[in-house]
Symmetry: C2
Subunit: 204 residues, 2 copies
């Protein structure tokens, strides 16, 4: 077609070929739609791209919170809550518990929705749950260098992997002091003129 496809969004990813028939795609606004999509030049399939859910837990035990030190990029070596991309066929709570099992080798006894944070510039929505551990048993999963329980006044604030994790741990510290927990809904916006915090640059 000679038209160089561009991504509709800096984090959506550029598609070059139709995943149904293998022909080239072009970026265009389908009839009746309002946004540009990658559309197949042969079979007409419209390839929608949508935000992803990052589900995770804020696991806690006797006033301490469980953090994982990342063994993967981005932010290798920094601390985070166990969280990752939700998979098809599961509930958000199941995804959060699964990520905790995979990254921290820990079982949670329950899950209470605690934070819903949109990160529009990378098209992710974090959904984090307060989750008492079923037992003080944990360890480093394949994506973690280390997993540990932290007293709230020992949280490594300057070594946290992502702004959303810092924000949610701040909420937790405040809410625990006043013993009143609510669901926090918020957003992390990209700092003006800067690269996405803690994420690699957009690529294909």
């Amino acid at each position: 077609m000679g038209v160089m496809p561009q991504t509709p969004d800096s984090r959506g990813g550029i598609l070059k070929f139709c995943n149904q028939c293998g022909s080239e795609v072009t970026l265009q606004v389908p009839e009746g739609d309002t946004l540009p999509r990658f559309v197949c030049t042969r079979c007409g399939t419209v390839h929608y791209q949508n935000p992803k859910i990052v589900a995770g837990c804020l696991p806690h035990w006797e006033g301490k919170v469980l953090l994982c030190r990342r063994a993967i990029e981005p932010r290798y070596g920094l601390w985070t809550l166990p969280a990752g991309f939700m998979e098809n066929g599961e509930t958000v709570q199941q995804a959060a518990a699964r990520e905790t099992r995979e990254e921290a080798l820990a079982e949670v006894a329950a899950t209470s929705l605690y934070a819903v944070y949109s990160i529009p510039h990378i098209s992710q929505v974090y959904m984090l749950f307060r989750a008492p551990l079923a037992a003080p048993a944990f360890g480093a999963g394949a994506e973690s260098l280390d997993v540990a329980l932290f007293e709230l006044d020992r949280i490594p604030w300057d070594q946290l992997a992502f702004p959303v994790i810092k924000r949610v741990l701040e909420h937790y510290t405040t809410d625990l002091q006043r013993q009143r927990f609510e669901v926090h809904v918020g957003e992390i916006l990209r700092p003006m003129g800067s690269a996405p915090p803690g994420r690699p640059p957009a690529s294909t």
Copy 2:
């Protein structure tokens, strides 16, 4: 390759070709992964498939709720809350307000997270917000046959489009009576041995 790809999940969609290089894909568990994914036989790109967020509002005005009668399949002619797939680059609240604008030609004055419902068999997560209308002004958008404010005792319970909509309106009726609103987290499971409620069968 001779291997007929199958979908990793009944709602994930079957991929046949790589959207980066146009070669065939096969379904396999990538190294270090635990789930089957569509992987390109030539360039090795792993094509992840993840749940979609359906964002929407429960718009209200002077004790009444705003419902839309669907002008599209599935569930043409039945009533629903304004909601639709979240787009890249927006927050969940922006998506919910946008869908209300598009489907009900209405502006909301605010949004309070009200329900998070997973529907694992179709890999969707509904995120619905209580939203006072900015004014009692509304109309039928392109995807609606009709839009109307309903007193709670006049909700057309037997003509609602989707189980999740019925569930959330039930929560709202109860919560409004006791004047105490919380965030409802739940799930809609596929009835045993039945087709997905209100959704067309999985197809490519």
